[in-house]
């Protein structure tokens, strides 16, 4: 029952994040979606991933809040409450198929006895290193682009 409620909450908050005009409300809705997703992961036994999701989500949302508040203009007129409820109702209807229908899937039978640490540090160690390089490159690239932009302005 809890999982079903979380699924409904996920779809409703995703729809509201897209629908609401004001950036702050929209980002708050996205925050609730990420928290619900982390709870869903934890309920399914993936506690590491749930914690990681919360940590990454917290960072992303903090930056998004700042960007949304600083850079977006206020909408001319607010959306009526009735329409927001209608969208939420539509989202509840959209989430119903995932509760009442099922798709049969045959899981592949590979790497069944692996622990999380083994999978990450032994099997995918090159991926982890490359991922670190990608993050460093992206951070450097963004710093260079913003720095050039600043020089161009002055």
């Amino acid at each position: 029952m809890i999982v079903e409620l979380i699924a409904v909450g996920l779809v409703v908050s995703a729809c509201l994040a897209i629908y609401l005009d004001e950036a702050v409300y929209s980002i708050a809705s996205l925050a609730s979606m990420l928290v619900l997703m982390a709870v869903l992961y934890a309920l399914n036994g993936a506690v590491f991933v749930a914690v990681f999701q919360l940590a990454v989500g917290a960072g992303t949302l903090a930056v998004l809040f700042l960007a949304g508040e600083m850079l977006s203009e206020k909408p001319e007129k607010e959306k009526p409450l009735k329409k927001i409820f209608l969208v939420a109702l539509l989202a509840v209807v959209l989430s119903l198929p995932s509760i009442f229908f099922s798709v049969a899937v045959m899981p592949a039978n590979i790497f069944s006895g692996l622990s999380f640490a083994d999978a990450l540090w032994n099997l995918r160690v090159i991926d982890v290193v490359l991922q670190g390089l990608v993050i460093m490159t992206v951070a450097l690239g963004i710093a260079i682009v913003l720095h050039e932009r600043k020089e161009g302005e002055s």
Binding site: V3, A7, L10, V11, A14, A17, I18, A23, S26, I27, L30, M33, M37, L40, Y41, N44, G45, A46, F48, V49, F52, Q53, V56, G59, T60, V63, L64, A67, G68, L71, S72, L94, S95, P97, S98, I99, F101, V103, P107, F111, S112, L114, F116, A117, A119, L120, L123, R124, D127, V128, Q131, V134, I135, V138, A139, I142, V145, L146, R149, E153
Partner: protein
Amino acid sequence: MDYIILSVVLLAVGIYGLLAKRHLVKVLISIEIIAVAASMNFVLFASSANRALGEAFLVLAFSTDACVTAIVLALLVIATKKYGTCDIRKLAEMERSADEEPASVEAEA
């Protein structure tokens, strides 16, 4: 409870936002929703079959997702400072008119 259908629904919501919304922050939120929908499959399949490889993939996917967010936010800052708007259609129009202006000046000369 079927996570594949839930993932498809979230993906559809994200794609709708990507196509219909014009504000860059909304585009970023749509990308986040699509990323969450895609990564949900990894972790829920992996945990249902008691396998850790899917969870390890997801941790890697999160960092890629954070990179995408950083890039879009940098674009957002640059676009707002240069053009004063976050509307992607207005930005495209401005870029188009900026491309057309030198051509018309050359034609007049």
